[in-house]
Symmetry: D3
């Protein structure tokens, strides 16, 4: 069954020449973003002010992102200066947050054919922005600053229509495509390199409290409108068809489709995509498996 | 089939010692909210300003709610002062609105395990806030102030992504969980103590005008993404599975699942939950009925 | 199967006496809108300021719409004056944009029984407003002003929770009812007089780049929550049931329902609705076809 | 010496037919203001929204004034809803504040030839608005709510460039013309029917604390840029020339001019102006006294 | 007596190579402004967004100025889009307004040694901006759109602390230096190439209505804090000392100083400054005349 | 002659027990400010949100001041986040700025009898806030970031009506009382412990460029409305009467009054005030000298 919008990039994906660690990678991506923004500012004067204020005037990706999120998520009662401060202090001081941001940027750039530049993702992708804000809320939650974490969740839900409980643990390299209506519960766990389309629910079982939300393995792809409920395991590399309702475990490298969901794909090649050209998981390979079920 | 996020509270639910009427109950809940906000303000200075402006500085629940809604729903062309005035005048003068607000707060506090305090619901739950604003819009609609009611509907739809026609009649003790994408049509009626998850549609039949939307009985539970269309009756205590499409009546105490929906549960114990410990309807009891249909 | 909210208007639909071209029609609709707004301002002083600023003070529909969109879509980093200028210059100079706006207003007024006036649609319908803003973004995209077009897309997605890629080609006379959660991909094409409910996805196939999104024929009706994926053709006058998942072509005048979708309707009368009384396609005629599949 | 802008009205001054008390007078003035605003809204669509939101939509002068002041004096950290509430509760519950507002409106309307309507004063005169906000701050001061009173003083000083200590006691029927730069100290007292031009200082003596600011009698006229320092008495009906520096008492019905000030006028006719046609004090009668001192 | 801040420019004043008319001159100045802004944006990233939004993104001086004024003078009840529209329509359609703007820019650039670039004046000089907004208000006044003109006056007085009645007629090439506290009455007339410092009052006489304010000739210089009252004539090329109080006519090419003012300068060379190097009136030549009067 | 508002504090001035350096002093003052704000928040719930957001939630005086200035001086085109960042980075990294802020707070607290707490000054004194913002602008100027420094000057002039050229050098322990209308030119120098009332001008001579503004010695007191023009020296401990016009040097410990100014005081006791109880210069001692000149 085809899931949407998740192909290989039409042109060779951008790669960092850096062999060094995360810092080098962050620096390279940030340099790309600034170069893209400068190019766009030159070609589109009407957008130049926006590009300077959100990207070009900043000295780091953390500052740019914190500025952008602060201005997106602020309200008349939660001021942009407060949020900016909160994001900047949290994000710039935590290397794991910064490397996750870079991995998410790469995920969008490589897996979403509509994503033509890093700066496009940074500026315009509500899924990307919601995830970055969630990571800060999650860190606050872990520090037992729960009221502040929940206030952030609320702002993310209002502004982006993405509702992720700050307790949820989310890996790196996440693509939250289109993102409107995504709901992820408190005890959900999402692995690395997962792609989640809009209207996806990782919901609870109805068990009071406790561990009651799905566990999503690395490299999983979840189609638009899929609903996964309860403390079930979606194995590594599995694919969940659009509109599916999943209430049980799904084995690794398997495809589940339908309402309620049925397993339709056999074991696939167990090769995790890593967002580098030539190694990317083919998010479309299970289309053929589902063709019998459709018109 | 498991529906999500609707279990019993892990700890004993808070109860009001008051034996008196609604006023006592409102006073008790408001005192709780203020105490919670003060505690959070003490522990989290970054949030204290927000908590004081939205809760602690106000002399009543009506004022706090009106302030919060006014600032959430205002825009550059619909000023916060106008909306604040409208909410305050309507809400503080109508005891039934105030008791409905209290019942909704209790519903979230008891039925949603992620809801750890009344103030969390008041501040952060877009479903709760959307319902409160709708109640005011509905009252305006009943007073034939339709253009203003429709303008409110539009603001609620923009800000919370919850689209409830001001003509719809909604009972008390409603939990609108996560809430993004909920659509409720003009002639819909929703009973008391109903729980509705996100992406739920109570839509029209296509009949021109007239009574064309669902009638939802007391204590009904509607799972995420369920679509109920037409002037159908969902009986008291019924449960609608996540992702279901319902086009016909569902008898009381029955469960309907699937697209299109099938009845899967027999008659259950006809005991309406009333959000007090020991009497709460078990929203999860129908999970077993659906296990055959899933992977 | 009933799809919702798309009947004939209960009262005779308003018609323009003008026999002339689009200009006459636009003038007539604009005159109606102003008259409605004046009537509402007289009856509801609390709303008068809003009605004057958004409608009555303006000399043309283009100005009113540009003002309204500029104030709806602005942010602290994309100022209302910039957006107003952009919308006004683009909209007022392009007769095809203006006639599309008029056709969309008519579509809402005629097909949606909850739409009681043109001004109600202009002011309050997020689907209508999202489409109008998209048309401007699409024109910018065609002029190769892509960064600006994508920034507009992002604002529309944030504010209205409607995510339409600026590359998508959308016809005239579109009703985007309720609209929350609608996603339309880059290479999608939507014909004239199409009605699309909320949560509808016109998504990609997973093919990298290229022509990968659905093609929707004239007069098609797509129910709430339907997901259509890939470069498939939905023929003229076809109907897609609520909650359906469509992965293959659907012939003209045919109905598809279910997840995955099945064809349930035979060929119907090939008469395209044109939003004038007596000629309107009956969006509800296929309800009977689906009754077997439901409870 | 000519003082400026304080002549008789060119046309017969408006009078209230009401013989009743302050309530009747307030009602009559409010009716005038609304009629003026409606007339202006009809003739100037671009201003209609502003006139409706600030005047026409309100049910009383207190509400209109509180709305206008709340929106003028708010900031990102002192919200309009808070200020609106504060002004409305204070102003509407205190008949003396309301009658003072009416008297000030009359003072501007009668004494300032540039003031062509009551609504012009209510909307546009920063001196009038600063005085009304001060009256509320003064009441808070008297209730020992000093931090809030001082915060209001600060906002008035920022927005209107008028700095009146909340402790200062100000009479009724005050015309604060142009108003920029007016400074009035904590222990100053200003009588009724006083006219004060811009840049006027009623400052302290340098004595530590205590009663250290001027006492201004009824019907006094103080020209632009005059500086009066210390606990001196300016007698009833006295006139202080523009640019004068006054450090000693000035007897009633006397004129003082120059830096330092000299008495130049003899005793004048001891007839207090009361802002009704034919009885108004002639604010220009002392011009002749000063003609020797000028070029 | 020295008046302040009005010397020759230290470096050769910029000249337009254009020999053509006003249009050429406007184009040349606008090109200079954009070049300055681009240079500053390159050197100061923190300011680049501001410079792009206010200057570089605009296609004409009228658009840039209208955008800047709209955003400076807007309030929560008078939206920036409304003001932008008003300024743009008025300014861009009236060549005399445009040439006056250019002349005022030149006046600041040449006469104020602290004015180092045209863009500095356009962006930062509240006197310049107040005058430009006044010119629009004056045109509205002349068109009998008085309520709107008075609302503009009020906004200018709030934001810039400059209070110019919209009826006042102001020439070209005006330098309103520092500007805070300037008050100019309804029937005042100010000639061309006049320099006015802060705190200057051109006030009324106290005559009821009628022609009651000063008439200021071409090339006059009025020092800080000077007060000129009544329908007096200040002759061409005259100079009024700082802090002076002027109540009678002042002959051309004469200097008046003191409170009350005395004539101290004899006839000077009757050569009007025209803001071109070598021909500029020496605003400081009368310093020597006053030296006897000072300490 | 009495100058106003500058006496000894009525109660013993607050002293720091710290014997250490500036850091200890800053810490002590900051602790006082927080304690005051907490006390006020407890007693006045309506102000608590404001006090938390501006003071109590911050971890240092630099953060509190930067937040407050950022929100006061921001506009729709110069965002609060940008200004906050700029102030915070500049202020927190420069000990001399921080010690100047503390000295200014002490100056207001000790010399102004209306200043009843440090927090009152920090929150409400536009003169204090204008000086702090100027110090940042001056530092930018010194770093040759002139366009940004001038933009700050412009915002300070708009918001506080205080116009200080960023080139001006200002000492520590400055009291800018009331502050409206103060103008200080580019080459002015102001010593330590200087008190300046509102409407004071330190203006230029008319010499083109160069060093053309006054030099004000330590401990000088300048009364309201005084105008000092040209590169003149006002000696240590001198006093300038309100409304004076000073065009020549004034010797140390001397008093100058009048327009034009005359020396009226003999040499006084050469004891500089240092804002500690018992050592404070008596700002009122020259009153007796001037009594002959007045009425």
């Amino acid at each position: 069954m085809p899931v949407q919008d998740l192909p290989m990039p039409p042109s060779p994906a951008p790669t960092s020449p850096a062999i060094g660690g995360d810092n080098d990678d962050e620096a390279w991506v940030w340099a790309q973003i600034r170069a893209e923004a400068r190019r766009d500012a030159d070609s589109e004067p009407a957008l130049a002010s926006y590009l300077y204020s959100t990207i070009i005037s900043h000295s780091s990706l953390s500052r740019s992102l914190s500025f952008h999120l602060g201005n997106k998520l602020c309200s008349s009662t939660l001021l942009s200066t407060l949020l900016y401060d909160l994001f900047l202090n949290t994000h710039s001081s935590d290397p794991s947050l910064r490397s996750a941001t870079v991995a998410d940027l790469r995920a969008s750039r490589i897996r979403d054919p509509a994503c033509t530049s890093f700066s496009h993702c940074l500026l315009n992708y509500k899924g990307f922005l919601a995830i970055q804000a969630h990571r800060v809320a999650h860190k606050l939650w872990a520090q037992n600053r729960k009221p502040l974490a929940l206030a952030l969740q609320s702002r993310i839900a209002d502004v982006f229509s993405v509702d992720i409980h700050p307790g949820a643990r989310i890996g790196k390299g996440i693509l939250l495509d289109h993102a409107t209506g995504v709901v992820i519960g408190e005890t959900a766990v999402v692995g690395n390199n997962v792609s989640i389309l809009h209207h996806v629910t990782l919901g609870g079982t109805g068990k009071a409290g406790g561990d009651r939300h799905p566990k999503i393995g690395d490299g999983v792809l979840i189609g638009a409108g899929a609903t996964i409920l309860g403390n079930v395991r979606i194995g590594e590399g599995a694919k969940i068809g659009a509109g599916s309702l999943v209430l049980n475990d799904v084995p690794p490298w398997t495809t589940a489709v339908g309402n309620p969901a049925r397993l339709v794909g056999g074991k696939e090649q167990p090769k995790i995509h890593e967002d580098v050209p030539g190694e990317s998981m083919d998010h479309t390979s299970f289309i053929s498996h589902w063709s019998d079920y459709v018109i």
